[in-house]
């Protein structure tokens, strides 16, 4: 440890002691004038207080806002139900009751499915609604190439995979999840006829537009909020026709190295990172994105921003329900927690 580093540590001890109104440590090596300046600054800072009337009014306003927050006492309706259930019992009993209810529902659903099929195998068009969770609903923007990666296991052991026609689905998720800048006019791509297996329809119906996600660090734009009060905002990009829109979207996102997106003022937390897409696969609704390179963030607020930009870019495709991101083979949450 050199002198400058040691002096900086001693200075910090002086500052901390003064802030806690404790006797100052005696550091003979520390420049006396510098120490006194630090003490003086701490004293001036601690004498500075917000107007108590303003502070009280603000607290009152926050109290009122708190009461109007949706689900202030529980994060979700399910949690409220669970809390009610466990109010007079232990949590383990609550879990057991909930698990029993879910098991009964699942048993009933399977029973109805078998009954309606009268022992016949289910066809692609005869799938009862109760088995919808086992169906991978795919919009045309997720193409045969990515679907081929989706159904890599043998058909006999995997849930039935059916490509559904996009009856009401748009190529992108609904505009209610995130506002779209600059325009919200997704182009409809041609629909495909239902097919028993994704490999059976190799034709590409690629879109020439994808969304990438930036951040409104002011949080003033309505939309999904993350981290330090930021809002995730979608912007549309034109891309060359592609058979793998997920990969193209991620690559498009990673290609932006401006801190602020154009003149929009939207922030890009990935601007310092040098990441490349190695692979992107979709299995049972879970997209696994493998990146390589270096991830650089500017502070604790950037961690959720980086994750949100990547996740939301993947989640724009309705076939994707969950996203796992790895950087150089390590989970991105682990990578960022070590930053």
């Amino acid at each position: 440890m050199n002198d400058a580093t040691r002096a900086a540590e001693q200075l910090e001890q002086v500052i901390a002691a003064r802030q806690m109104r404790q006797p100052l440590p005696a550091h003979e090596e520390l420049d006396v004038a510098k120490r006194d300046r630090a003490v003086q600054l701490v004293d001036v800072a601690q004498a500075t207080r917000i107007d108590p009337v303003f502070a009280a009014k603000l607290e009152l306003r926050l109290n009122q806002l708190y009461a109007t927050q949706p689900d202030a006492q529980a994060t979700s309706r399910w949690q409220r139900w669970f809390n009610a259930l466990t109010q007079h019992t232990s949590h383990s009993v609550g879990f057991a009751v909930l698990a029993s209810l879910l098991l009964a529902l699942a048993s009933f659903a399977i029973f109805r499915a078998l009954q309606s099929g009268a022992g016949q195998p289910l066809s692609a068009t005869e799938v009862p609604p109760t088995v919808v969770p086992f169906i991978l609903a795919v919009t045309p923007t997720v193409t045969a190439t990515e679907l081929a990666q989706t159904a890599t296991a043998p058909p006999s052991s995997t849930p039935q995979v059916v490509v559904l026609p996009p009856a009401t689905a748009t190529p992108f998720p609904s505009a209610t999840r995130t506002p779209i800048l600059p325009s919200a006019s997704p182009t409809r791509t041609p629909t495909r006829a239902p097919s028993a297996t994704p490999q059976a329809s190799p034709t590409s119906s690629a879109s020439s537009r994808v969304k990438i996600f930036m951040l409104d660090v002011d949080g003033s734009t309505p939309g999904k909020q993350i981290g330090c009060g930021d809002t995730v905002v979608a912007v549309e990009r034109n891309i060359a026709p592609t058979s793998s829109p997920l990969q193209s979207a991620i690559r498009e996102l990673l290609s932006v190295h401006d801190q602020y997106y154009g003149q929009s003022g939207l922030f890009n937390a990935l601007y310092r990172s040098t990441l490349q897409l190695d692979s992107a696969t979709i299995v049972n609704g879970r997209a696994t994105i493998n990146l390589s390179g270096t991830i650089r963030v500017n502070g604790v607020c950037d961690n959720p921003r980086v994750i949100a930009q990547l996740q939301e870019t993947a989640l724009q495709f309705s076939a994707i329900k969950q996203v796992s991101i790895y950087v150089n083979g390590v989970d991105i949450n682990t990578v960022l927690s070590q930053k």
């Binding site: 900086a8 300046r37 917000i50 926050l62």
Partner: protein, 197 residues
Amino acid sequence: MFTETVIHRVDQPTSLNASTDDEVLAAQAASSRAAFAELYRRHVDHIYRYCLGRTGSVQEAQELTADTFVSALECIRMYQSGHFVGWLFGIARNKVAMFYRQRRESVSLGEHEVDTQPHAQVETVVGERLQLESVIRILHKLSPDRAEALRLRILGDVPIAEIAHLMGKSEAAVRMLISRALDDIRGRLEYTGETSR
């Protein structure tokens, strides 16, 4: 006192006290108004001082403080970073950054009044006004990283570890930034003859 009246408005009595950890309170704040109120009272002065150090204006610092806590309230249920102070100051920094971006012009400290303690004795206020004004003015002349580290540490009372998280630097680097910032301040005060000693 008005403040005491407000405190009594919060919901159920709790065992919250000064020793309760910020992280515990933050975890409770999603469902406990009392926990959020305690966090507010603990950090409102720190956030205000930091905003004052950034803007040099009491009114703007108050507005930014209010914006910061309103956003914190809206996002508290998503909080999971394990660094509450860093998270809160991250919001404050966002608000200040947006404030400057919207204004599209640098703030001239000469145009703003710096009021440090409106309800203190007049003599005390005069003495502190002079010191704080000169400190804030000089902070604007330092390199951005040094000024920011010093603001967070001295005005915001943010621990070194949290500043390191906020700024994406090592703790040693932050300590060094603060040390050098104090060197710079001392040099400038001596140069302009504004030392108060």
